[in-house]
Symmetry: C2
Subunit: 341 residues, 2 copies
C-alpha cells in the first residue's frame, strides 16, 4: 500500500523529504476496529511543521474513506459506510481538556492517514455528511474540530453577537466563519489580502478590514455601527490583542487557537480593567467532534477547498502551495478509489 | 463635618497632601437617598494611587455606618440600620461588566467615604453582617467584592478544587482565601514572607510556598500531592504565569485582578496548548456585592484587619504603613461615633 512518509534525507536540513513509499497494508488486530479505503485526505500546517522536525512518520491527520472491513460485533458502522476520522486520540468528553495522553494522527508515533488504507477504532469514525464531496469531507476534521471548540466551547458565540475572525483564508478561520454565520452571529474578518475579505463576505461575513491599514480597529468599529464586539477568534497572536481590547465589550472574550504571527501575546492591565478574557483553545474532544459533524450536516456547511490533486504522489506539490501560503481553504489529495469528488 | 481630602500642596511632587478638612455636612437631595453616620472606613491601594495623581477629591471607597436620615418612601432601610456601602456605581447585574459609566467612590468626581457623614442611594446600602465589628465591616466592601468576582464569577471555584492564591496578605487575597475555604476548596498560597504563609494556614490554607525560592512551582505541586491546580487567583502579574501554566490542569483558569509586580503578562503557546485561560477581573456588580455580603454573613467570614486608628486624623499614619507594605489585612480608621469596634 502507498503512504506519504518522511525521512531524513533532504536538501534543506530543516525540511525533511516527504515521499510516497510502499508499506505493508494495515490489518485489523482488535475488536472494535475498522479498515478504511481512504478516499481523500487534506493538509494542515501541522504537516508542514512535522516535515521540519520529526521523522520517520506516516503523515496526515485529515481524511475520509469507506469502511472496507470491520472486526468484532460493534454495530456502529458497517462495510460500505463513508466516514470521517476523528483526528486525535485520548480526549473523550471533558470540556477542559484531554483525559488521557493526547495524540494527533500523523505525528510522533501515531500513524497518519496519507495512505491508501487506514485502521481506526470504530468509535473514532463518524458518518461523513451526505452533502459533502470526498474532498470537502477530507477538509473537515481537524479544522472543523478546532473551529468548533474555539467558537462554541470557548467563545460561547450566540445569535446576534458581533464576532471578529482574524486571518480569514485559513481552514480553521473559514469554518469558524461558517459556524458563526449558521447561528446568526454578525461576523467580521481581517486579512492582509482584500480579495480574501471579499470572498469571506460572499460566505456570509458582514465585512472586514485589511490589518495592514494602520486604523483597522476603527474601520471594524465603523462597520459594526459603533457597537462593541463580543468575541474575537484569533490564530495569529502578537500585537492584535491591543486593538481587540479596544473594540471588545466589557467582559469580551479573545479565543486564541494559535500564534502564527508571533508566539506571544501581551496581556495588560488595559485588558484586566475591561474584564477581558484570553482563552486558549486546541482541537477538541470526541463529543465536540460529533457535535461538529452533526452541525455541519444539519446546516449543510461546506469547508472551503482551495485545490485538489489526484493521488498521493502530488503531496510535494501541495506542500509547496501551503508553504507559499496563498490558498483560500484546504489543500486535498484524492485517491483513485474516491467515488464522490 | 470632617473629611480626608487631598490637595496639590506637598513636599513630594507626585504624592499630594492628604489632610482632614472641614467641609459642609452633606444633605439629602433626592428620594431614595440615605445619610449615614460613618463608623469606620478602610484603605485600599487605590487611595494611595489617587494621592499620586488626582486632586482635589474626598478620599475613600470603603466604609460602614449607621443610617441617620432617609428621604422618600423606600422601605429598604430605616434610621438606625448599620450598613456597608457598595463601593462603586454604574454596574447593576451584567456578569460581563458595567452597564453604564462606572465610578468607584473617592476618585475622579465621585465623593469618597473618609468623612464623618456620607450620602448614598439606599439601593447601594446593604445590612452589615452582625458578626462583624465596625472595623471588620469597613474592611469588607471593595476587597470583598473584588475577591468574590475573582473567585466565583471568573474563577468558578468549587468544592474539592485545588486553588492557588498568590501574594497572600493583601485584602483581596485574604478574602479570596476565606471564600475558597468556605466552599470546601483546597487552598494554597504564595508570599515572599514565610510568616504570612503560616498565618494563611491558620486561616484555612493547606500550605504555601515562598516565591523567592527558585522552585516554588514544584514545591506547590508536592504540597498538592502531585495533583494539578484548577484555578489561580493572581493580583501580581509578571512572570508567575509561566509557572502557573505548568502546575494548572488542562483548561485551568488564571484569574488576574491586578498586576502589582509588573503591568504585563506573557500569554504563550504553552498556555494555548493546555487550553489555559486568563480572565481579567475587576470589582463587581450590585448583584455580586449582595451575594458576597450574604455569603459573608452566612459563613461568618471575617476580613483580616491589620491595624485600627481612632479618627480621620490618623489617615497620614495609615498611608505610611500602606506604603511600607508590611500589613497583613486591612488598615482602618474608626470614628468617634463607632459603637461596635
Amino acid at each position: 500500500m502507498k503512504a506519504v512518509t518522511i525521512s531524513k534525507t533532504n536538501t534543506e536540513p530543516t525540511y525533511h523529504n516527504a515521499s510516497v513509499t510502499d508499506i505493508p497494508k494495515p490489518e485489523l488486530t482488535e475488536d472494535g476496529q475498522a479498515l478504511l479505503d481512504v478516499h481523500a485526505v487534506s493538509f494542515n500546517h501541522r504537516d508542514l511543521w512535522i516535515r521540519k522536525g520529526q521523522y520517520p512518520v506516516f503523515l496526515g491527520a485529515d481524511g475520509v474513506g469507506r469502511i472496507a472491513e470491520v472486526k468484532g460485533n460493534s454495530s456502529k458502522h458497517k462495510v460500505g459506510d463513508r466516514v470521517v476520522v476523528m483526528p486525535s486520540t485520548g480526549w473523550d468528553k471533558d470540556p477542559r481538556g484531554p483525559e488521557e495522553a493526547y495524540y494527533i494522527l500523523g505525528g510522533g508515533h501515531v500513524n497518519g492517514i496519507f495512505s491508501e488504507q487506514f485502521v481506526a477504532q470504530q468509535d473514532d469514525l463518524f458518518k461523513a455528511p451526505d452533502h459533502l464531496t470526498d474532498a470537502e469531507a477530507a477538509a473537515l476534521p481537524l479544522a472543523g474540530l478546532t473551529a468548533w471548540r474555539a467558537v462554541f466551547t470557548k467563545g460561547q458565540v450566540r445569535q446576534g453577537q458581533n464576532v471578529l475572525i482574524t486571518g480569514i483564508g485559513g481552514g480553521v478561520a473559514l469554518l469558524a466563519l461558517s459556524f458563526c454565520v449558521a447561528v446568526g452571529a454578525n461576523v467580521y474578518v481581517t486579512s492582509s489580502d482584500d480579495a480574501k475579505i471579499l470572498k469571506a463576505v460572499s460566505l456570509g461575513a458582514v465585512g472586514g478590514a485589511n490589518y495592514k491599514e494602520s486604523k483597522w480597529g476603527s474601520h471594524l468599529q465603523r462597520l459594526a455601527g459603533g457597537e462593541p464586539f463580543d468575541v474575537v477568534i484569533d490564530g495569529a497572536g502578537g500585537d492584535g490583542v491591543k486593538t481587540f481590547t479596544q473594540i471588545l465589550r466589557q467582559g469580551g472574550i479573545i479565543v486564541c487557537y494559535g500564534m502564527t504571527v508571533k508566539p506571544k501575546v501581551d496581556y495588560t492591565m488595559a485588558a484586566v480593567l475591561r474584564n477581558i478574557e484570553i482563552r486558549g483553545s486546541t482541537m477538541g474532544s470526541r463529543v465536540e467532534f460529533k457535535e461538529m459533524v452533526d452541525f455541519v450536516a444539519k446546516h449543510k456547511i461546506k469547508p472551503a477547498v482551495s485545490q485538489v490533486w489526484p493521488g498521493l504522489e502530488s503531496a510535494e506539490e501541495a506542500f509547496n502551495v501551503m508553504r507559499a501560503g496563498s490558498q483560500f481553504g484546504k489543500l486535498v489529495l484524492s485517491m483513485k478509489n474516491s467515488s464522490k469528488l
